[in-house]
């Protein structure tokens, strides 16, 4: 079992970061790896058990199921159902928490999974860097862009 933990501090209040992350179908609007996404069976993106089917920029197709979502705790978790890469038993958890002595956000993104022998390093790098680290950077960029827009208004 491989365990990945990534965390960072975002210079914005948790409500603004949560507004990005809460929408289980919204990652195609902020994550650079995701080209387009849709929730299957016309379900609402905050219905526990809903499935998002999405395409990465490289054309690969994935499906993930929403397992938990809490507006109180600002957490959600999901698992991977279908993927062309060897990620098995993949379950991920996202948690936001306010940094109360400064209006900032702690963002923790972690998962466990198994893979084929010999591909551990490659999968670890892909999930940790291409998905999680890249996601942190993208949300940071979007937040500073929207702050700049608000500043001009």
């Amino acid at each position: 079992m491989i365990r990945i933990v990534r965390s960072t501090i975002i210079d914005a209040p948790t409500d603004r970061v949560w507004a990005f992350l809460r929408d289980f179908n919204g990652h195609d609007r902020w994550h650079p790896a995701v080209a387009k996404s849709a929730i299957e069976r016309n379900q609402s993106a905050d219905k526990i058990g809903c499935v998002r089917r999405f395409f990465l920029r490289d054309g690969s197709e994935l499906r993930e199921r929403l397992l938990t979502l809490s507006d109180l705790e600002q957490t959600f978790s999901y698992c991977l159902i279908d993927t062309p890469v060897p990620l098995f038993n993949y379950v991920a958890h996202v948690r936001l928490a306010p940094v109360t002595d400064g209006d900032r956000t702690f963002w923790d993104w972690r998962c466990t999974f198994t893979t084929r022998k010999g591909q551990e390093a490659e999968m670890t790098r892909m999930v940790g860097e291409d998905i999680y680290d890249a996601g942190f950077a993208a949300v940071r960029t979007h937040l500073s862009a929207s702050s700049a827009t608000e500043g001009r208004a």
């Binding site: 933990v5 965390s7 928490a97 940094v99 002595d101 400064g102 900032r104 702690f106």
Partner: protein
């Protein structure tokens, strides 16, 4: 039930910050509000159920019982047995989480307790703003920001 939540970013690796705060008898070494502390009955400070008897700088005496301690998840949970604060069912947790993009630590300190409604705001302010934030400010100084 009143609830206090205070969190902060400490500029040091979580294992180093944990080494500072994990000692249930070690408050005087890092928290500026605590004058002295001892563990009752000669028990080790990491024995679940042990009781610390400590005094604040203002002379108040508090006895607290260790309920949980995890070197894996980096948290410590304790309850108040005896204090002049006038709180009931007080349970608090100090938890550290590594911030992986930089050698920093996310520190959270929470408490839940019962008290008369008219004293709730004052107690939340004293515990959260005084004790918890005071401890985090001291750790931030000790770890350089």
């Amino acid at each position: 039930m009143a609830r206090v939540y205070v969190s902060s970013v400490i500029n040091g690796r979580s294992d180093r910050v944990w080494a500072r705060v994990r000692d249930f008898n070690g408050l005087p070494a890092w928290h500026p509000g605590i004058a002295d502390s001892r563990i009752e009955s000669g028990e080790p400070a990491d024995k679940i159920g042990c009781v610390r008897d400590f005094r604040l700088r203002n002379g108040d005496r508090i006895r607290e019982k260790l309920l949980g301690l995890s070197d894996f998840d980096l948290f410590c949970t304790y309850s108040i047995l005896e204090s002049p604060m006038g709180v009931d069912n007080y349970v608090a947790t100090l938890r550290l989480t590594p911030i992986t993009d930089g050698e920093r630590t996310f520190a959270e300190w929470t408490a839940e307790f019962d008290c008369p409604p008219e004293r709730e705001a004052e107690l939340i302010s004293n515990i959260g703003g005084g004790v918890f934030q005071g401890g985090f400010d001291a750790l931030k100084r000790q770890f350089g920001g």
